[in-house]
Structure formats: structure tokens, C-alpha cells
Amino acid sequence: MAKNFFALFKSGLVSLLALAVLLPQAQAQQPIRLGGIFIMSGAASVYGKFAQQGIQLAVDEINAAGGVLGRKLEFRIEDSQGKADVAIQAARKLVFQDRVDALLGLDSSGVATGLVPVMPELRRPLIITHAATPDATGKLCNRYTFRISVNVNQNMMAAAHVAADSGAKRWTTIGPDYAFGHQSWEYFSKYLKELKPDVELMKETAFPRFGNEDFTPFINSVMAAEPDGVLISVWGGDLVNFVRQARNLGFFDRDMQVLMTVGAATEVLSALGEDMPEGVWLGTRYWFDAHDNPVNQAFVKAYMERYKTPPSYNAEGAYAAVYAYKAAMEKAGSADPEKVTEALSDLGFQAPNGEISFRAGDHQAVVGPTWGRAAAMNSDYGIRMLDPVRSFKGEDVTPSVEETGCRL
């Protein structure tokens, strides 16, 4: 009886020891999972697709070099459809069912204002790679939310500089009727007035619905008001539609300065081709041709070889976010979400658009956009190139933490 018991005890001990040895190893073989939430359907689905390509490239590169902390990286992408409630459900699925360790994404400011307040419940870090509403690192900021891409504050400060230098006096806007459109105009107006107090910010503005198909009435009403300068924050498939319809109505033949805040997205440039008019000012969070550092050169080369097209800013943002997670996990020595979140704050690393660090005060990366005039077509790439190019330094365009209203 005692002999049996002792044998049982011995085998039990051995198995426990074996488990203790094997389990961490099994853990070590467990891949690190990243979850991405992007717009994969509808008028802006190309953005999600390009982001996916950026993530795939980064993950493959990292895995080929041994992974992160000896573990392979995996990722899964969910479609937000541009809707906040869909994105929240997708985030819950990624965190609780697919057990991802970290999140990245968000192609829409509307989605961001919905998802960002929920992050403390999900207890995973989120790196925003596209959505630009200042609120995400402003009044809605929390310890789990970071942003690696240029936000509305930064882009509109740069736009205000371009506008001030252009000499135009009467400004109006055509923007999508949601947070991004309204906030772009709000911040642009504020910064432009600071630079040039004598400009007139017209009452006649146009905010067509996001996903609107027929811009003709809005184009007509803005043309009738006869501005000198127009700020256009329409984006995605809407911008493609808008440009084609505006061309037909003679919008670009007028003597006006036209600034498209995110016009140099390769998603838009390749859809329009020659239809993008020359001479308009196009902004972008990242321009593949504007950064002369080894990381960018390697990135652009690898991306073009694989996908046969220059990387868009959405692809670069997603790519950089994956590398940011790698750096944070290595700094923390673990993929544990809480430790990674700690490590991300005040992390500095090399991204294609330069040396990036997340500001401790609001978790916003101090980066600047690139603006350029639409110039000649490049037949290899199938898009218009930018010439001249103005790249803005992060420090010059980022407002202070107090101004953003973030209290971390």
C-alpha cells in the first residue's frame, strides 16, 4: 500500500518537474500575436490592404532574423468597416478569442474616438498608425494608447505654414462630415490665424458625408463663393471621386491654392494617375522619396520588390508600429502587455521616417508630415511625384502636451 503510494508520488513529482521544465519552453515556442484593426472594405479598403502589406513585410523580416525574444511573430487583421462599434467588437475578439498581445491600426478618426476609451478595459497596448484625431492622444488619452503617425495637430500646423507662404487670403474647406473633416478645419484655421492674422476664414464651407458619391453640389457651392485657397481633407475613395468630378467642373483651372491634407497617399495617387492635377499641394504622413536614411532605403527597396509599388504612408505606419513593438518587447524582456505598455512610453527607435520616440506626456510620436506640389508623372510607379518637397520636423509642428489637453 505504502509502496504504491510512494510510486505514485514519485511519478507525480517527475511529471510535475517535467512540466515545469517543458512549460516555459512551450511558452517560449508560443508565437507573439499582434492584432490589426483596419478598414478592409468599402471606399477606403485599399488603405487597409496596404497596411496589411506593411505588417506582413515587417513580420517576415523579423521572423527571418530570429523573431522577437526567440519567438515568432504572428498577426491577424480584422475589418473595422470604418465603424466604431464594429471596431470595438473586433478588438474584443482579437484580445479575448485570438489572444493577441498587442493591437495596432485604426483607419478612421471616428473609430479611434470609440475604441480608445475602451483600451483600459482590454488591457493591451494600442499603437495608432493612421487615425489622426487629436483626441486620441489628447482629451481621450490613456496609458494604453500610443500613436506613431502624424496627427491632425501636426499636419495642420504644417499645412498652415504652406498656406501662409502661398499668399492666399480667403480660405475655405471641403472635408468629410465627421471628426476628421471638422477638426482638420478647426486646427488649420487656428494655426493659420496665428501665422497670418489678416487671412479670412470663410463661412461658406462644405462637409459632404463620408462615403458620399456626388460632390458636384459641394464643388459648385465652394466655387461660387470664390475663395483664394481651399483646404481639402477628403480622403480615400472619396478623394478619388472628388478629384475626378472637380476636374470636370473646372475646379482646378481656377486661380486658387488647393491643399489636399492627405492627397499624397499612394492609394489615391495610383487610382487617379494623370487625373491628379499638377500644381496642387499634397500632404502626407510619410513620402517614400523624402527620407534619406538606411532604414528607409531598405524598407522602400524591400516593399517595392515585393509589392511592385512604392509604400504608402499607411504601409509605413503599420511597418514602423511592428518594429516599435519589437523594440518595446526587447526593452521589457517580455511580451507581457503591461510590461510592453510600460516600455513603449518614452521608447526611441529607428523608423523609415527617422528616429521616432513616443512622448511620455501623451504617447504621441513627435513626427512631421511631408508636403509637396504634384508634379510630373512617374510612369514606372504610375503616380505623380512631388516637387518641390517640404518635410517638416516633428519638433516644429507638434504642440506642447498642455495644449493637447492630455492628462496621463
Partner: protein
């Protein structure tokens, strides 16, 4: 004055496009007594086939205008033979639900075949550029849209009122059993009418393709618009489709230009007002229950 002309011209090209879709809906309702939710999907298929023919295979626009609607009509005929005939004689909500199911299938099918993104088709060389009209610079292609709408209107009127086929179809619409009795092959007429309605919807899709973005949501958007047109003008009424399309076109053109704060609400207010005041539509006749 020029801005009013601009809004008016904009209204007209929207109206013509809506008319093309709504008239097919009305023809199908008149003969089959079915409200075809899938009509938006057929329009969308017309646009997507145009993209494949012109954008991918490099055909010029004019052959595509001929081929794409025929392909859609063929698909519609198959759908009618296999699926739709089962709900004839049943409650009208059954046909609403079944055609809604078909719309879901077409929507997803389009996503599977052509992807979820948007596609772009350029107008034919002949129709690029602008024309000056009453002090307003107007895109030539929009003028083409208005003209084709008018041509279609005239052709349909002639077809239904002056030809033998037209009389046969009208007979089948008025009294199906009687038509069968005097030797008209009613099932064939029914299939033919459904395919014909689809053909017209697809023409709308082909014509719309260079004007608007081609995306998987375009079917859903247009079906709601065409319901509004048909409700305002009157279910089953041919001139009603024209009147409804003009009213909705004007609401879009002028509402978007002068009342942007409420331009999304206006069409539904119009729809509701007509339903409350004259449920059969401004020019409609009673729908069979």
C-alpha cells in the same frame, strides 16, 4: 443665375440615372407584381462588368455598353427561372424578402470576385471635356447621360405603345390568366420582362460607371434611391418613374447646393409626405395586395 443653372443641370443628370433604374423596377412590378430588391444589385453588376471589359480587358466603352447589359440580363433570366418563380402568387412580402436575399448574395459575390475596394472607369475619349451652356461649364459626359435617359424614355414608350411585343406584355400585366388562355406564353413573357428590367438596370450601371466610383456598396445605395423614386412617382407607373426621378434629382441637386444641413433628410421627408398624402404615388395606380 449660373449657380441655379448648375444645380439644375446637376439635378437632371442625377434624375436621368434614377429614372433608368426606377423604370426597370416599375416594369418588373407591373408584370410580375414583385418589388425587386435585387434591382440595385443588377445595376451594380452592370457597372462591374463595364470595369472588367473596359478597365481590365481594354475594350472601348461602346462595346461594353452593348455587352455588359446583355450579360446581366442573362443572369437575371436564370435567377428568375430557378429562384423567383417560386414566390409568384405568394404574399408580396415573400418576394421582398427573397429579392433582398438575392441582393445580399450579389453584394457578397461582387466582393468575392472584384474585391472590396473601389474601381475607376474613365469616360470614353469622345465624351471627355466640357461644354458651355447658359454661362455654366458642364461636363460633356453628364450631357450624354441626360441624352441617353431621354432616348431610353422615348424608346420604351414606343416599345410599349406601338409594338406587338409591347401589347403582349401589357396583356400579361393586365390579366395573366386571360393572356394565357388566348395563347400567350405567359411564363416566357414573365422571364423576358424580368430580364428586360435587369437589362435596363445594367445599362444604368454602365452609364454610371464613369461618373461614380464603382464599389460594392453602390447597389444598396441606389436601391433605396429607386424606392424613393418609385414611391413618389407611383408603383407601376411609367410617367411616374420619370416624375419621381425628376423630383428626387431636384432634391439632390438643389438640396446639396443650398440646404446642405438637411440634404440627407429631404428625400425621406419627400417620400413620407407622398406616402401620407397619396400612397399610390403622384401618378400611380393601386398595387395588388
Amino acid at each position: 443665375m449660373p449657380s441655379i443653372i448648375a444645380a439644375l443641370l446637376n439635378s437632371l443628370d442625377i434624375a436621368m440615372l434614377l429614372f433608368v433604374i426606377a423604370v426597370g423596377l416599375n416594369i418588373i412590378f407591373g408584370v410580375l407584381n414583385i418589388i425587386n430588391f435585387a434591382h440595385g444589385g443588377l445595376y451594380m453588376l452592370g457597372a462591374y462588368f463595364t470595369y472588367t471589359l473596359v478597365g481590365r480587358l481594354g475594350l472601348p466603352f461602346w462595346p461594353a455598353l452593348l455587352l455588359a447589359p446583355l450579360a446581366v440580363a442573362a443572369i437575371a433570366a436564370v435567377l428568375e427561372r430557378l429562384v423567383l418563380y417560386r414566390v409568384y402568387g405568394r404574399h408580396v412580402t415573400d418576394s421582398l424578402l427573397l429579392t433582398f436575399a438575392l441582393l445580399l448574395i450579389i453584394d457578397e459575390g461582387v466582393r468575392m470576385i472584384w474585391g472590396s475596394g473601389i474601381h475607376v472607369v474613365r469616360p470614353p475619349e469622345l465624351l471627355q471635356g466640357r461644354v458651355n451652356f447658359a454661362g455654366v461649364s458642364y461636363p460633356l459626359y453628364s450631357a450624354f447621360v441626360i441624352t441617353s435617359g431621354v432616348v431610353l424614355l422615348a424608346a420604351l414608350w414606343a416599345l410599349f405603345n406601338r409594338t406587338r411585343i409591347g401589347r403582349v406584355v401589357r396583356a400579361a400585366a393586365i390579366d395573366r390568366d386571360m393572356a394565357q388562355t388566348i395563347g400567350i406564353n405567359v411564363p416566357a413573357v414573365v422571364t423576358g420582362v424580368f430580364a428586360f428590367g435587369a437589362w435596363i438596370a445594367a445599362i444604368g450601371g454602365v452609364v454610371a460607371a464613369p461618373m461614380r466610383a464603382i464599389d460594392p456598396g453602390m447597389g444598396d445605395k441606389i436601391i433605396i434611391e429607386s424606392f424613393i423614386v418609385v414611391v413618389i412617382g407611383g408603383l407601376g407607373s411609367f410617367p411616374g418613374a420619370l416624375l419621381g426621378a425628376l423630383v428626387l434629382g431636384l432634391i439632390h441637386g438643389f438640396g446639396g447646393r443650398y440646404l446642405p444641413q438637411i440634404n440627407l433628410v429631404l428625400p425621406y421627408i419627400g417620400m413620407a409626405l407622398v406616402l401620407l398624402w397619396r400612397p399610390h404615388g403622384l401618378l400611380g395606380r393601386r398595387a395588388a395586395a
